[in-house]
């Protein structure tokens, strides 16, 4: 999502194997650019992508909850392309600008990982 996309809901999708190692900002789910705010990303399974979730600076009000975001990138990419520096959650937005709740993830930049316990949260 980019260009001011807002108030969208991404739910129960399965995203895997997306992105080139040469493009370190490729992703399973992307929230990019000014005004791309107030979206809900929930109950998705995001594995084996260059990054799992990628959020650019400036996005805000997005809710990321109850997702399984693990194994991004796969270990063979880590081994063969170590400069990629991919993670499960790459959050370049200001800390606290978006909400993370009940996700399972292992690696992150500015994200609440590792978190291995899936929490039950109200909708």
């Amino acid at each position: 999502m980019f260009g001011g996309a807002s108030r969208n809901r991404l739910r129960r999708n399965r995203l895997s194997g997306n992105g080139y190692a040469a493009q370190g900002n490729n992703f399973g789910v992307g929230i990019e650019g000014t005004g791309t705010n107030d979206n809900i990303v929930e109950d998705n399974t995001v594995t084996g992508n260059t990054n799992g979730l990628f959020m650019t600076a400036g996005v805000q009000g997005n809710v990321i909850r109850q997702n399984v975001i693990v194994g991004n990138p796969p270990v063979q990419v880590d081994l063969d392309h170590p400069s990629t520096n991919g993670v499960d959650i790459k959050n370049l937005a200001q800390t606290g600008a978006n909400t993370f709740r009940g996700n399972r993830c292992l690696t992150s930049v500015n994200g609440p990982c590792p978190a291995v316990k899936r929490q039950v949260t109200p909708p």
Partner: protein
């Protein structure tokens, strides 16, 4: 296009024929599409689709409140993320060579199951639209994001599978 009740072979032939001329108000879609097919009413795939449209969308939904049923069929474009997209995009192309294009519309539904693959642009591109529902679709090996949302609001994108999309130049990926 008039919904066809004839045999599969004749139906497929006529679909190819009509799809080839483009800009018709499609109902039943299948075969080869060589110019952008404009959809303004509820429509469905009745066969696999091969797209040979250069530098433009394969199917463009240009009216609101339209449902497109994929019915388990496959749409195939002219690029493949597995083979570097024929060299890959070096600049952001406009328009994108996407599979299904929705611009400036409300309440569009794209309903799977169905596979949208190997487009040089995104598999599905929702731009500056609102209230679209994309469900049950598989998008694979497209050269931008499998499902790309640019601007707009209020979309419900659920129960889709997005795999092996991307390119080496621009940030993109699954959704």
């Amino acid at each position: 296009m008039i919904r066809l009740k004839t045999g599969t072979g004749l139906g497929a032939f006529l679909c190819v024929l009509f799809a080839g001329i483009g800009n018709v108000h499609a109902s039943d879609i299948g075969g080869t599409i060589s110019t952008t097919l404009t959809v303004t009413e509820d429509s469905q795939l009745v066969d696999d689709v091969t797209c040979t449209v250069p530098g433009a969308p394969c199917i463009a939904i240009t009216a609101s409140n339209v449902t497109l049923e994929l019915n388990g069929f496959t749409m195939t474009g002219q690029g493949d993320a597995r083979t570097a997209c024929n060299g890959g995009p070096s600049t952001f192309p406009t328009p994108l060579e996407d599979g299904i294009d929705v611009q400036g519309q409300t309440d569009i539904t794209i309903h799977g199951p169905g596979l949208i693959q190997q487009f040089r642009g995104p598999g599905i591109y929702l731009h500056n639209s609102s209230g679209a529902k994309v469900t049950g679709v598989t998008v694979s090996t497209n050269c931008f994001s499998g499902i790309l949302v640019g601007g707009g609001s209020g979309h419900e994108i659920s129960n889709n599978i997005s795999v092996r999309n991307g390119n080496g130049t621009f940030p993109c990926g699954g959704i």
